[in-house]
């Protein structure tokens, strides 16, 4: 069993140059690594209906909503600087773009407050409450 003791470094200096981008969180796994014609085939077909957005991907109906990053947080898209490194080496990633909101998509289910990614955004506030400094 591999005991992974390598460290991942984030080059925060690259953040200044990084552009803001739009991010879609898909309810499926796509075996594709690289650029894609998102605006041509996907963004252009999104319908903004009341309360939710709808679109389809590969013939399947998706329903989604926009979600902001928790206050004080910025979303980062990270890219590996040396993608061919081995398991054992330390890794370095750079910030390729940033986002302060994302659109997440459910397969056929209307977006709601129980969605995993919506709930995950609770953590920063809770973490602050339980780990933050206490003032007397």
């Amino acid at each position: 069993m591999a005991c992974n003791s390598s460290v991942t470094h984030v080059q925060l200096s690259t953040m200044g140059k990084a552009e803001r981008t739009t991010v879609h969180l898909m309810p499926c796994e796509i075996e594709h690594n690289g650029s894609a014609q998102v605006s041509q085939y996907f963004t252009s077909t999104i319908k903004d209906r009341k309360q939710e957005k709808t679109v389809s991907f590969r013939g399947r109906g998706l329903r989604g909503a926009e979600l902001s990053c928790p206050q004080g947080y910025t979303g980062l898209v990270l890219k590996e600087v040396n993608p061919n490194g081995s398991d054992q080496e330390d890794r370095t990633v750079k910030v390729s773009s940033t986002f302060d909101k994302l659109t997440y998509w459910n397969l056929e289910t209307p977006p709601n407050s129980d969605d995993m990614v919506v709930m995950a955004m609770d953590w920063p506030e809770l973490a602050e409450a339980i780990h933050g400094a206490v003032e007397d």
Binding site: I30, H32, A36, Y41, S56, R60, M116, M119, D122
Partner: protein
């Protein structure tokens, strides 16, 4: 025929209707149902109804309506004009099922097959005629599937009506031929005037008949295929032609409701965390295995970074 309502949003299902002739709300009427564009991998499927008083059936024959498949496009246009001109006693209504509706229905989590989709479109149209006050007595339906079952289903939905389901009804009953012409004209227009919501620039419209066996159709599918997104919404993704081309030339896509071998699925499930990116050798780390996260974290797919 004005398809404006459908063209405003060609990703959904749309109903187009004629005025209801006054006479149809006071006299016993017959109604015909037919479909157009069931087989093609491209474009919408259209369900059509046409209705007129039983007493005017003979006059319908004077309109020279015949099975739409035996006619040229120009002849169908003319006949549709005749039907429109007879608006004092003939009414029609259409349900256009967009290719996107067909794809997303057939590929739904709880599968909704083409027959069920068709039957529901037909039932919806008959109900529309009843709701509009048409005094329906007889219904004639063309079918490609088993006639008896369909007839039984329709009779159950509409106990007061005399339902006749027949293969090739469009050549046997003029009211069905009329419905078939309305449906086919709408399908022709929808395909010809398709406006692509995708941002593809000038799209080549030389897609042939739209039938999977047509080499032109297949060439068009390949031309507009994208390895990630597949095709424009003009294509029925649920057709095996479209699926097979994606399987051979597209990127693989996995959904949580895929039916697949347990081992493969399990291997990928381990990989779904956003943090798998930071953790090349997936699975439990030396001390990760001993420590079970609280439900609060697992429900949110949150993992501690310190453990890496």
């Amino acid at each position: 025929m004005d398809l404006g309502d459908f063209e405003a949003d060609n990703s959904v299902s749309c109903r187009l209707t004629s005025e209801i002739p006054d006479i149809c709300t006071s006299e016993d009427c017959c109604l015909g149902i037919d479909e157009a564009g069931r087989g093609p991998v491209l474009g919408p499927m259209v369900y059509g109804i046409c209705f007129c008083p039983v007493s005017r059936k003979e006059q319908l024959k004077d309109l020279k309506v015949a099975d739409s498949k035996t006619l040229t496009e120009a002849e169908r246009e003319n006949l549709f004009q005749n039907i429109s001109d007879a608006k004092d006693f003939v009414g029609w209504a259409l349900q256009i099922l967009s290719p996107n509706t067909i794809s997303t229905s057939m590929l739904q989590r709880s599968k909704y097959n083409l027959n069920a989709l068709s039957h529901d479109a037909a039932i919806g149209l008959v109900q529309y005629a009843l709701d509009s006050g048409v005094q329906l007595k007889e219904v004639f339906v063309d079918t490609v599937g088993p006639a008896e079952k369909y007839e039984e289903k329709l009779s159950q939905c509409f106990p007061g009506l005399e339902v006749t389901v027949r293969p090739k009804a469009d050549s046997l009953f003029p009211i069905v031929s009329a419905a078939s012409i309305c449906a086919k004209v709408a399908r022709d227009h929808a395909v010809k005037g398709w406006s692509f919501t995708e941002d593809l620039g000038e799209v080549d419209t030389d897609y042939g008949s739209g039938y999977p066996g047509d080499p032109k159709t297949k060439a068009w599918l390949l031309k507009y295929q994208d390895p990630v997104f597949g095709y424009p919404q003009f294509v029925r993704f649920s057709w095996s032609t479209a699926k097979n081309l994606m399987d051979s030339k597209g990127s693989a896509v996995y959904w949580d409701d895929d039916e697949e071998d347990g081992e493969k699925a399990a291997a990928r499930q381990n990989n779904t965390s956003m943090l798998s990116f930071c953790n090349r050798s997936t699975g439990s780390t030396a001390h990760g295995a001993a420590h079970q996260s609280h439900r609060f974290f697992t429900e949110r797919r949150l993992q501690g970074l310190g453990a890496l």
